[in-house]
């Protein structure tokens, strides 16, 4: 393997021997006696010194524009604390920089990095860091092995470009990683990476809680499940919903998006996939050559990474999943990329036709219809019981509903939901509409004529019926959008609710 000439040799100790700028040594200041700062050759000392800009996920530090090496100083603090794993579920996380995954580190090939690992005084156990970007035994593990309330420093030269996982390597290692101690360090190649419009940081890791998925309260690390590799949670960025709703990553139509995706593990690999997108380029395993184009799903090993680029052409919500889908459906491994911008129905039309298909239609009151109805009830209950799916469903509905609204409703009610004064009533915080959900469904389906009083003002106009134009699902979607926009908040509408109203007059 390669060696690091900077760190070899005993010149380092001369300064200490001569007491340059330091008092007497106190033996063994760290675990394993510290060797003292490395004496850097003049060429390295002449390099500009930079404090590394570290970012919390899903953000990524800006691309490095300099064309020369630097001495980069990195400070990373280890903290142990209890935080939210899912709604109503707390977990005792161990973190690099207070986030899971840990702060994103971005340096350039050839940089000399002065790395400081600080273990907060409130920590219960020692920690260290093994950066896969480091050439040298242990990747920094021994050099940064740090008791609670202490700090370690070591220096390395980034010889190899690539996207590397870092993680804690203190025994018992699987527990340290399972508690959240992993992150990514990008060593940009000297020539840089192809420019993109947006870069995001996503890492998958699994959590072994004593309770099952969603079980409320403070959950302890479950040793047996960890050893058996049976995690109740497989998550992106350390919590259920960390990339959903307001926290979704975003882009605009036409932009190029790059994801720096890593797997902390400790045990489970990822079949990383973005629903509705194709990766234009993949740098598999975080290496410096994109070796494949037009990839649907890329396999990312535990303790490994991948860089994926894709251009977003069509607006909508794109779901990030581990395509080992029970992990997405039942264990939380999903996130969202929301893309705004004009539709391009040539690339993606949306549903064009919803026609009656008689092939398997069950007669009302038949055994088949009862089975169908029972199945719908079960699915609905399942979705309701699973906050992730419920949240996801609603998010998706809002997105779809917005498309409907912008096609049909906004001309009168306006994009901001405020209607037109004295002509068309507002929907934003509209007391009349919010007071009765069933009436709202009926109004969309059947239309409305005559006077109506909304928020103290009376309107007298005509709303056309939409029952011919919109499917039950579309009505549910648009109402879910309307009921969750402009300050309105409400549960999602279901197609079944719409169907009931649609059928009442028949």
């Amino acid at each position: 393997m390669k060696t690091i000439p900077l760190l070899v040799g005993s010149a380092a100790t001369v300064a200490l021997a001569l007491g340059l700028g330091r008092g007497p040594l106190l033996a063994a200041e760290g675990a394993g006696a510290a060797k003292g700062p490395v004496i850097l050759p003049p060429a390295v000392l002449a390099l500009p010194v930079e404090q590394a800009v570290l970012t919390a996920p899903p953000k990524v530090p800006p691309p490095i524009t300099r064309k020369h090496a630097a001495r980069v100083v990195v400070h990373l603090e280890v903290r142990e604390f209890v935080a939210r794993l899912a709604d109503g579920v707390d977990y005792s996380f161990w973190t690099y920089g207070g986030t899971v995954p840990g702060l994103f580190i971005r340096i350039r090939e050839g940089d000399v990095v002065e790395f400081h690992l600080e273990n907060h005084p409130s920590s219960k156990v020692p920690h260290n860091i093994d950066l896969h970007a480091v050439t040298g035994a242990g990747g920094g593990a021994a050099a940064t092995f740090t008791a609670p309330g202490h700090a370690s420093q070591f220096t390395f030269k980034a010889l190899n470009a690539g996207l590397y996982v870092y993680h804690c390597a203190t025994a018992p290692v699987p527990m340290h990683i399972a508690n959240g101690m992993y992150g990514l360090i990008l060593v940009e190649p000297k020539e840089g990476l192809p420019p993109v419009d947006r870069e995001y940081y996503v890492m998958q890791g699994e959590f072994y809680t004593t309770g099952k998925f969603g079980e409320e309260g403070l959950q302890a690390f479950d040793l047996a499940k960890s050893i058996d590799e049976r995690p109740p949670y497989v998550l992106f960025n350390g919590a259920v919903g960390s990339l959903v709703g307001d926290k979704a990553i975003t882009a605009k139509v036409g932009e190029k998006v790059r994801l720096y995706f890593g797997v902390g593990g400790p045990n489970i690999t990822s079949s990383f996939h973005v629903i509705g997108e194709i990766f234009d380029r993949v740098w598999p395993e975080g290496g410096t050559r994109f070796v494949q184009e037009n990839v649907q799903t890329t396999m990312v090993p535990a303790g490994g990474s991948a860089i994926v680029d894709f251009k977003v052409d069509v607006p909508g919500t794109y779901i990030l999943v581990d395509h080992s889908l029970s992990r997405a459906f039942n264990k939380g491994a999903l996130g969202m990329l929301k893309v705004d911008g004009p539709e391009n129905r040539v690339i993606y039309s949306g549903k064009e036709i919803d026609a009656v298909y008689l092939g398997a239609q069950a007669d009302a009151g038949s055994e088949a219809a009862r089975r169908e109805a029972a199945l719908q009830v079960r699915i609905a209950a399942e979705i309701k019981a699973n906050p992730v799916i419920a949240g996801l469903t609603k998010e998706a509905q809002i997105e779809k509903g917005k498309q409907v609204y912008m096609g049909l409703c906004f001309a009168c009610h306006q994009a901001d939901g405020n209607g037109l004064p004295n002509v068309f009533p507002p929907l934003a915080q509209a007391d009349y509409m919010l007071a009765d959900r069933e009436r709202a469904i009926r109004t969309v389906l059947k239309g409305m004529t005559g006077k109506v009083t909304v928020n103290g003002k009376t309107y007298d106009s005509m709303m056309p019926p939409q029952e011919a134009a919109l499917s039950d699902a579309q009505v549910a979607d648009v109402l879910t959008y309307v009921f969750n926009s402009w300050g309105n908040t409400g549960d999602a509408f279901t197609a079944a609710q719409v169907k009931n109203v649609r059928n009442e007059a028949r």
């Binding site: 005993s10 100790t13 007491g19 008092g23 007497p24 040594l25 106190l26 033996a27 063994a28």
Partner: protein, 200 residues
């Protein structure tokens, strides 16, 4: 074995109560007056006894540069090399300093390294009066090792696994240099002795 260890402790505790014996010739310079530096390993108030049967606190070394290592006499591989390296460091010192500095070996192994065993070792290695071969109860050994940053462990064979470390102390007993490992770093260690041996 535990009983043996305790016996040793009792014996040494008794020895510690005796008045400190006169210094050896090499130590005839009076130690500096005043309190020991707070960063000095001479803060350790345990008593160490030499192969000549004299017992003293480490603070008796005050006033001289010290080249110090921990070892055990029956060590077949690493310790002889440590002693050779200490001799080589001595050889690199200016003549005046060569005999003024103290060369101290402290045993990990109070059970087997009796005064007689240490005296044998001195003869075998032809170590002159500038060398001090010390032993102490296991607690004092542990505390000194901790102050120096030496890790060691008794193996089932009775031998000791241990860090290889040569420490340079200034006349106050503060650590100014550590040579880790075996071989190499002799010039730097000697420079460290020279640096703290000045001003005399």
């Amino acid at each position: 074995m535990k009983a043996t260890a305790w016996l040793c402790t009792v014996l040494f505790a008794a020895a510690a109560m005796a008045a400190p014996p006169p210094m050896e010739d090499c130590c005839k310079e009076a130690p500096p007056a005043g309190p020991v530096s707070a960063r000095s390993i001479y803060q350790l108030d345990a008593t160490f006894c030499s192969d000549t049967g004299q017992c003293l606190p480490l603070a008796a070394l005050r006033g001289r540069p010290v080249v110090l290592a921990m070892f055990f006499a029956s060590c077949g591989y690493a310790c002889p090399r440590l002693v050779t390296d200490m001799q080589a460091i001595r050889g690199r010192l200016p003549a005046e300093l060569r005999d003024r500095a103290a060369y101290v070996l402290v045993s990990f192994d109070p059970d087997r390294d009796t005064p007689a065993a240490l005296a044998d070792y001195r003869r075998q290695r032809a170590l002159d009066g500038a060398w001090m071969l010390l032993r102490a109860d296991s607690g004092a050994v542990a505390e000194l090792a901790a102050l120096l940053g030496v890790k060691y462990r008794r193996e089932p064979s009775g031998n000791f696994a241990h860090s290889n470390l040569i420490t340079i102390l200034n006349p106050e007993g503060e650590i100014v240099h550590r040579r880790e490992g075996l071989g190499g770093g002799l010039d730097e260690a000697a420079q460290a002795v020279v640096a703290v041996g000045k001003g005399k």
